[in-house]
Symmetry: C2
Subunit: 211 residues, 2 copies
DNA sequence: GCCGAACCGGAACAGCACGTCCACTTGCCC
DNA sequence: GGGCAAGTGGACGTGCTGTTCCGGTTCGGC
């Protein structure tokens, strides 16, 4: 999102013409909807262009590659995740914060097939994706630490476990798009129950996944 | 039109020539290996043919379509699953039988990306796939019932929960093929812990997925 | 050995995806 | 209003896929 204030640095992209900017917005919206319902690889660039009411060349002028389009589309979702983690950090009860993050992210995945895929794929650095990812990783690590210190999260929860959970949830979204919201909630509920440390806890089933 | 009386029914496929049969076996083995390491859609028919040391036409002579090849390749895995469910039914402890099935199927998925995908996709009826699936569904339903009756499996476990579990596991296999075995074991261990009914059990987090 | 049918391999076909080019149009600054 | 750079859309190129065709080859019963 570039500012339209006149004194821009020479290396910044120049401001778009009004019609071009409008097309750009329509493209992103069209792509977001298509990706959400049908996933990333099932949606063709032509289809995005057609849905946005522009030609293919226009699409490629704004986003030189499909990957760039994907990055741009999900930058917003990533920002939402950042806000979500920050909200959870503000929560007084560490366990509640921990659950909130997981539940909300999985719910986001459940209703957006593209986001589900994109949040696990190695996306390029465009659009500050990596920065948001890093921010979220740190925030979630803090959440995890606090939840463990309060004795509510099982001690062997590792950083790889979040990814484990997201991958599992993504599997549901990918294989049952229609019933994904309900199925995802069920999965998350089951997993959170296992992740909660109880006073009389059964022994740890298996060590956490490293990495 | 003279019909010769033959030892085999006329509608049965005639016996293959020795070299053709050999090629067929090599094709299936090549396909199995390729599918296992790289998944179903990432493997091209050309690659299977090359790996089997035959031409493309030979491959298509045996398996008129890629789907037919996939069905044939995973018919063996399906048979293994049938045996696995039958073994679990022979187990004296219902909960152990229940866990065995889930652990072993997920382990099979974890080391075979193709099987992971195929066990969830709607495969065609070729090669008795549907029959094995039906057999397994019945067997697993019996396992479930017995585990519930013994009070070891939480009462709200539904038929859709197995699929839920398989989809979650498949998500791990699809997104982290290298660390899939360990990650899958961790996921299964966590989920089985939640699925186990304890005397002092926390309330059911969410109703089971229907269907 | 021989001969025909079964079999084989690679070239060729068709379809679809991403990405590019170019002649035409249009917003914007004066 | 007028000129021009930016923008546009559809045809095109390229590369990949699954699938088919055809001339040459080989097995196997006699």
């Amino acid at each position: 999102m570039t500012t339209l204030v006149s004194p821009r640095p020479d290396d910044a992209p120049r401001a778009l013409r009004a019609d071009a900017l409008d097309n750009r917005h329509r493209i992103i919206e069209a792509a977001r909807q298509s990706f959400a319902t049908r996933g990333l690889e099932e949606v063709t660039m032509r289809e995005v262009a057609r849905r946005a009411g522009v030609g293919v060349a226009t699409l490629y002028r704004r986003f030189p590659t499909k990957e760039a389009l994907v990055s741009e589309v999900f930058a917003a979702q990533m920002a939402a995740c950042v806000a979500l983690v920050d909200d959870a950090l503000a929560e007084s009860d560490p366990w509640r914060g921990f659950c909130m993050v997981i539940e909300k992210v999985c719910a986001m995945q459940a209703v957006d097939r593209g986001f589900s895929r994109a949040s696990l794929a190695n996306v390029s650095d465009e659009a500050g994706f990596a920065r948001s990812l890093d921010h979220n990783a740190r925030g979630f690590a803090a959440l995890t630490r606090r939840a463990k210190e309060s004795g509510q999260l099982r001690a062997d929860f590792g950083p790889g476990d979040l990814r484990l959970l997201l991958m599992a949830n993504a599997g549901i979204v990918a294989n049952a798009p229609d019933s994904a919201p309900a199925a995802s909630r069920r999965l998350v509920a089951l997993l959170l129950q296992s992740l909660r440390a109880h006073p009389a806890d059964p022994p740890v089933p298996l060590p956490a996944v490293t990495g």
